[in-house]
Amino acid sequence: MRMGIESDQGPVRKEGESGHYKGLSYEILYELGSIGAGNAATALSELIHRKISINVPNIHIVSPLKIPDILKFYDMHTVVVIAQLTSNMECDMLLVFPVEEAKKLVDFMAQGLMDGELTENITLIEELGNIIIGNFLNAISDFTGIMLQPTPPTHVVDLFDAILDMFLANISLQERDALLFDARMRCDEEDIHGAILMFISRELQEKLIERSEDWLD
């Protein structure tokens, strides 16, 4: 089963490489991704009383219609956690795991939790999404100075292409660039692969570019 990101599909940068695409700085995006992932890992480790690390070694800036070609999650049963923003600013976020990877992750989380630590109506995978998405948004929020508050997450289990095409039926998302972070998690000796997708609005993208230019000057 093929997972992770292909390097021959459009612009891709690995950790430590700099460069720009449509004005977006990879250097800044890595920095924000690393901060978001690091803080999410700390929060998760505290929640489940076990050590967990999250890295985002690759990033793609890509047309949303090209996402299936990059992730190669064709016909793969996936768990996708979705959150949007509560404000007028738009940034739809998806946390994607193949079902087998999600099972490993949920098992790992459940082992570290004590009874009653999560309310029954919140699934572990949504809590995970809440933490990762929240910390990614916090990193962007701190950098741009714009308050970005996510809606409570919801999750869907289905074929990845089917979930994505339903999501991209919203035409405004198709017109945006998608930021695709390859997410590598390590729980004890277990490696878990997934992806974080962000559909940022033009307004937020421009704000990111503007702040990046200030910061890099």
């Binding site: 016909d75 089917a162 979930i163 095409d165 039926a169």
Partner: protein, 157 residues
């Protein structure tokens, strides 16, 4: 022979013994087949109507994809009177997320059927709506369209 994957807003026309595949949620897999000549085409329709988006692929929208795929098939040698249509997709998988995409699946089904009627194409089979995605295989040797859902259930149209 490897199957041909038809991506969002794309189409493909082929002949026996080819096989085409795609996966749809709210989108529609439109399969047209001429049994007498064993030639068929698939379009992966994303949205119901094309107005406002003239610059996009005509195979992205139900109202333009149906006549475009029909004409393309005829130009490749299919017999107009032998062509029949099968459709699958149009699910609503996110009832709790963005309200603006709530009815896209159903709208796609309605628009595709309307367009088929306008072109005068017979609907020979359908598996639409619901809340789950579908994996589609279109066999050009028989014209069969296999629809598989997450549960493993397979329907042959």
């Amino acid at each position: 022979m490897d199957p041909i994957r038809v991506g969002m807003a794309e189409m493909h026309i082929g002949t026996f013994p080819e096989k085409m595949i795609t996966t749809v949620g709210s989108c529609i897999a439109l399969c047209l087949y001429d049994r007498s000549n064993k030639i068929g085409g698939m379009a992966h329709i994303v949205l119901p109507v094309s107005r406002r988006f003239k610059q996009d692929s005509q195979f992205k929208f139900a109202d333009t994809a149906v006549p475009a795929l029909f004409c393309a098939l005829v130009s490749k040698g299919a017999s107009r009177v032998s062509i029949a249509a099968k459709i699958a997709g149009g699910a609503n998988m996110f009832p709790l997320v963005n309200k603006s995409i709530l009815n896209i699946g159903e709208e796609n089904v309605i628009a595709t059927k309307k367009s088929l009627k306008q072109v005068g194409l017979k609907l020979a089979g359908e598996d639409v709506k619901g809340t789950k995605g579908r994996k589609i295989e279109f066999h050009l040797s028989t014209g069969d369209v296999l629809v598989q859902k997450l549960s493993g259930e397979v329907i042959v149209l």
